[in-house]
Symmetry: C2
Subunit: 377 residues, 2 copies
């Protein structure tokens, strides 16, 4: 039977960008094992690596960062749709999709679909995305939008807008690690969306707008919020066992564990666990980190007991929640923080697809009626 398919076994692209080895639990970003790259690179470095195939030298990094910084101002049309969205308290992912889509209005050559024009669009997107989400968060919470501070890095800028003050360098380091961790991850549904749109020879803004729409879905953008809520509700390490047993007994799903691709521990979980340990260490209070570790340990033991052989492991969401909470972000905005970082990866895939394109058009299997005639109705 040609059943409904998630295309699990289909190969839809060759890529130089990232390699997800779900059985080995390895993630490679443009040649670097994740654990080499993410603790060390700024987001700008990771972005340059993805877009150019190698890390920048000092001058290249400065030029690249300066170019991004010069493009952070939002056009009026984007600000207007953000105001309208904020007045209705729309989810941040909707606001981001709407604002990104309007960037065509200030495109200097909207009908030019050359690789060069689309590279310029990619830089626009990366520069503006943190400002869109940061200022939308302010507006939605009744605060005035702020002018971006041109001296700040991408991560610094985003945290500045959210918190209204220049952030602690440790917060910036943690967000650089988070964004470098999630910047790209094979052909996930949003990246695939961007490539399908691109495959018709459409433009960068159309592709990224579509990808944001895909990432909005809870099966993709995920559940770091609920994973964190669980940790807070458990409250103390000694409560973990009873709480989680109770969840299993009630047939509830444990958030933050299990992944469609990874059959061993998600390598991103390790990198973010270390980043959160560093963050909470520096802040001088390890208690939430220790609690999360205890919850994770108990959860893994009980998953093996209740779902033996399923081999469900900690996924990226569990420690994402801890890192993002540690830098002062609310769970309501987690998906959008993910999107801001992932835009760099989407853009890299769009450019890669443009360089070696074939229209992506699978088949459907028709299971409906046939042979109806107009007169017989």
């Amino acid at each position: 039977m040609p059943s409904v398919s998630g295309l699990e076994n289909a190969v839809a692209a060759e890529t130089n960008l990232s390699h997800v080895d779900g059985l080995a639990g390895e993630l490679i970003i443009a040649g670097y094992p994740l654990e080499e790259l993410a603790p060390n690179a700024t987001y700008e470095q990771s972005l340059y690596l993805l877009w150019h195939g190698q890390l920048p030298d000092a001058q290249q990094l400065k030029d690249f960062s300066d170019q991004i910084k010069s493009l952070q101002q939002l056009p009026d049309v984007a600000m207007y749709v953000l105001e309208q969205a904020a007045a209705k308290s729309l989810p941040t992912m909707d606001a981001l999709r709407m604002a990104v889509s309007t960037l065509s209005v200030t495109d200097p050559a909207p009908e030019d679909n050359s690789l060069e024009s689309n590279r310029a669009r990619a830089i626009q997107l990366v520069a503006k995305a943190p400002v869109i989400v940061g200022n939308y968060w302010r507006m939605k919470n009744g605060q005035a939008a702020l002018e971006p501070k041109e001296e700040l890095s991408q991560a610094g800028q985003f945290l500045y807008l959210i918190h209204g003050e220049v952030p602690d360098p440790e917060f910036v380091r943690a967000l650089d690690t988070y964004w470098s961790t999630i910047i790209d991850h094979g052909l996930n549904a949003s990246t695939f969306t961007a490539r399908v749109i691109t495959s018709t020879e459409s433009d960068m803004f159309s592709a990224i707008t579509g990808a944001i729409g895909a990432l909005k879905g809870p099966l993709h953008g995920g559940a770091p919020g609920p994973a964190l809520d669980m940790v807070f509700e458990i409250g103390k390490p000694e409560n973990a066992e009873a709480y989680i047993r109770n969840m299993f007994d009630n047939g509830e799903r444990l958030m933050g564990f299990g992944h469609r691709v990874y059959k061993v521990r998600d390598p991103r979980a390790d990198v973010l666990a270390q980043a959160s340990e560093r963050l909470f260490d520096k802040a001088g209070d390890r208690s939430l980190y220790e609690l999360a570790l205890a919850v994770e340990k108990t959860a893994l033991r009980l998953l093996e007991e209740y779902k033996p052989g399923r081999n469900l492991q900690t996924n990226v969401e569990f420690y994402t929640a801890l890192v993002l909470h540690g830098i002062g972000l609310k769970s309501e905005i987690f998906s959008s923080v993910f999107a801001v970082g992932r835009i760099g990866g989407w853009a890299a895939h769009v450019l890669e697809q443009m360089e070696n394109n074939r229209l992506i058009r699978p088949k459907s299997e028709y299971v409906g009626p046939t042979g109806r005639t107009w007169g017989a109705t």
Copy 2:
């Protein structure tokens, strides 16, 4: 070698909506062969058929049409982005993508992703799309936007906005046939985009916004404009042979012929050829229709001579151009007229995907470097 793939042989969905048999040259829309449905149905009837699995009776059709008509007013935020886009003469597809994305702002329950809410969004989209494109066309051409006339059908409304007067019923009939012809067509790239976005459990507006972005690409939205330009440039039937031979000798691509799926004549070409014959007959001047027929006949003969065995046949674009030109539309807007009609099919696929969902996530094949280390750079 796992080469770059267009997923040609992958089955990504089961569907009750349409069946494309490329070898037999058949298209079935919810049980009806295209040639039964498209010459007879209004767009509203075809839409109801796709969304409900059967044609409406008279009362159902009235209720459905009335509901659509009551939702044609555009919200201020959509009008604002259209004005901004018009000021920059943006392509209509970009304006449509931007305006559709803003519809979340007036959504009565933006965080409710139930099937019922998404059905309501589908009706909003269908009702507003012709008004968005029709009024954007006016604004882009320096004319004031018009209030939709509530007594008009979808096709009538669109032509009213474009031309500024209540249209000839033959024009409305031709547009109903065109939209019923292109309302759905298996898993083309834009429909597939809508289903991938939906598969993450995202919402209708996100999915349709993404699909519009995909349809914008010339490999999908196609080339009815250039096909028509060629007919005009040929000018007289007796010029066709020399003109087309010259194109082949210069290595130029003949627009309006060949299709990735259809290996015989595209059934949509037949239906639209008949619609254009009727249209030009009623208008009392068959000359353009006769010219197009002569160009088609010559083109098919020379395609067989220059590209023997390739079996390149007339596709939907060739007669699309003739029908849309016949009802007074400029080729610049053809892709958007296609999009307005296809929105009904996209929405049907989104709802179908929601009813039986699985995350769509194919694989990529990594062909980049490995084993890089941070310190070594």
